[in-house]
């Protein structure tokens, strides 16, 4: 009857979202008066999950699951959910979790709510709040199935400390045929991803050309941030498509989003609005981004950004 949470790892290390979904699962378990079981696949050290309210960890160590496969991972989570007789299963909104969750929902006969931003408003009827219309609204959704699958929106619930000492148990599920085989992976391992970043630095058409991205990368570097861009910038080939954020690109839900030379078109804002604090740097005081931002500088990016880099370096040096 416990709440099952799938805690994702990358090369044996838990991702930040793993701790967030564990925190979320704890809130659901408290509301239902039950405990939290986490499923970890090839993670090195699961003790940290105890800090976020996990009571028991099902540990899967399996060479075949070394790289992600949606079908196989969904099947393993299903077996764990059945073993635990879980009525609520919690996953994140990472690309991998969004890939496997619909498969899992069908195999568990579960209703599935995505982009959930708060602990359930009620457990009977089971009601969750999720974003809809690309962050332009929230939707209260009632889940009527016996088993419920919840996809928690990244960086919405946050990490909650909840000291428990998680017991750990080896779990050896059967592994189905993969059906979809990885041929090659092209992933920058030295860069923060937009999905995981606390801070995102984003550039728009106002930067005039790809040759001017040096200062954007330097600013990102100083802040430990990921770099992103507006849609026309990727369409023009100034930056790779993987950096395109917005309604038709990647969603951003960082703590800080810095928009440089971006006008703030509705489609751009929709995709980045889940970020907590927004800063805009733009020459045009009428740019719509100023209506969406928390802090703004009306000025030329080519002056403001180098100064900002300088000031941040001084700040870092003082606070080191």
């Amino acid at each position: 009857m416990s709440v099952l949470v799938y805690t994702e790892s990358d090369n044996g290390q838990f991702k930040k979202v793993a701790l967030e979904v564990a925190s979320y699962a704890k809130a659901v378990a408290d509301a239902l008066g039950t405990s939290v079981t986490a499923l970890a696949i090839n993670a090195n050290d699961t003790s940290i999950l105890g800090n976020h309210g996990v009571d028991k960890v099902l540990n899967v160590s399996n060479e075949q699951l070394k790289s992600f496969n949606a079908k196989a991972y969904a099947d393993v989570i299903k077996q764990a959910a059945e073993k635990e007789e879980a009525k609520v299963v919690v996953v994140s909104s990472s690309a991998d979790s969004k890939y496997l969750a619909p498969l899992l929902a069908i195999s568990l006969n579960a209703g599935y709510a995505t982009n959930v931003v708060e602990a359930p408003a009620s457990t009977s009827p089971f009601t969750v709040k999720r974003t809809a219309f690309t962050n332009k609204a929230f939707e209260m959704t009632e889940m009527s199935t016996d088993v419920k699958l919840i996809g928690v929106s990244n960086n919405s619930f946050g990490l909650v400390e909840n000291s428990a000492s998680a017991s750990s148990e080896e779990f050896s599920p059967s592994i189905p045929d993969f059906k979809v085989t990885i041929e090659s992976v092209d992933k920058a391992t030295d860069k923060v991803t937009i999905a995981d970043a606390e801070i995102v630095v984003s550039g728009g058409r106002g930067l005039k050309g790809p040759e001017n991205w040096g200062m954007i990368e330097e600013l990102a570097d100083v802040l430990g941030a990921a770099t992103a861009c507006s849609k026309p910038v990727s369409d023009l080939g100034w930056r790779p498509h993987s950096e395109h954020v917005g309604q038709t690109g990647k969603p951003v839900a960082s703590n800080l989003y810095i928009a440089i030379g971006i006008s703030g078109a509705i489609q751009h804002l929709a995709g980045i609005n889940a970020s907590k604090v927004k800063v805009v740097i733009n020459t045009d005081p009428e740019a719509p981004f100023f209506k969406a931002a928390d802090y703004g500088v009306v000025g030329d990016a080519f002056e403001v950004v180098p100064t900002l880099i300088q000031k941040l370096k001084e700040f870092k040096a003082q606070n080191a």
Binding site: Y99, S107, G111, Y112, A132, T134, T141, I199, S242, Y295
Partner: protein, 248 residues
């Protein structure tokens, strides 16, 4: 190859989002509807398969009669035929079950859906459809090639991309990258005329239920005014981000 392209009928990206009937229904008043952008990239890729590999392309939507202009637009872009499952699309599970029936009855080898619709953002229909029909599934797909029953796809992952191989029957959740923005097609007069003659079959839904129920909508709280910092005072910006916003 028989291709089915799922078309979601969604409010134009610039639409004002409002609700009626005690915030329980989306207010369609004055709203223009379009083909869901993720689906449009998929439809355009399907046209490539039609032209280069002689595939047949059928578009499908689960929705009321009001969605027919959107299906006609897909026909004008070049789809051969359209199917409308005559039902209110209650939730992702319900829609996936309807589409599974259409896919099985029609014997489609490849289903191209969008990774998510821009209205409800469920992002679950393609995967559920694959699971219900025992098809293979590639999500956030940014490139797709098919040779016989073999498929090669590229999918976007957090921080990069990966190339995978798989087989038909296949369902993909597509997005920009399947084709470039510049390859999207605007229907021409000839296409629009031809679309009027193409079949648009209306079929009744199966008796399946959904799994979730939308009960109420809310709009986000109004934002406070922006705090402006002068160009000569970037120190203040750093200090605000540190002391007030606490994000650095």
């Amino acid at each position: 190859m028989k291709i089915l392209v799922c078309i979601s009928h969604v409010p134009d990206t610039t639409s004002k989002i409002n609700f009626t009937e005690g915030d329980t229904k989306f207010d369609t008043n004055g709203v223009q509807f379009v083909i869901n952008p993720n689906d449009e990239f998929g439809l355009t890729r399907a046209m490539w398969f039609k032209e280069k590999q002689a595939a047949s392309v059928t578009v499908v939507n689960v929705g009321g009669p009001e969605t027919e202009p959107t299906l006609r637009k897909a026909l004008a872009i070049g789809a051969d035929g359209a199917i409308r499952v005559n039902a209110h699309p209650k939730d992702g599970t319900f829609v996936a079950k309807q589409l599974a029936k259409v896919m099985q009855d029609g014997g489609y080898d490849l289903v191209i859906a969008g990774r998510e619709s821009i209205d409800y953002n469920g992002g679950m229909v393609p995967g559920m459809l694959a699971a219900l029909t025992n098809s293979n599934f590639v999500n956030t797909c940014i490139n797709l090639e098919v040779d016989g029953t073999n498929a090669k796809a590229t999918r976007e992952i957090d921080g990069g991309k990966e190339t995978v191989s798989t087989n038909l029957p296949l369902v993909i959740g597509g997005q920009k990258g399947l084709v470039e923005e510049s390859e999207l097609r605007i229907p021409n007069m000839r296409g629009i005329m031809q679309a009027r003659q193409k079949p648009l079959n209306v079929i009744e839904p199966t008796g399946d239920n959904g799994a979730t129920n939308s009960v109420k909508f809310e709009k986000p709280a109004e934002k406070g005014a922006v705090k402006l910092v002068s160009v000569d005072n970037i120190d203040e910006l750093v200090s605000l981000l540190h002391n007030e916003a606490k994000v650095i």
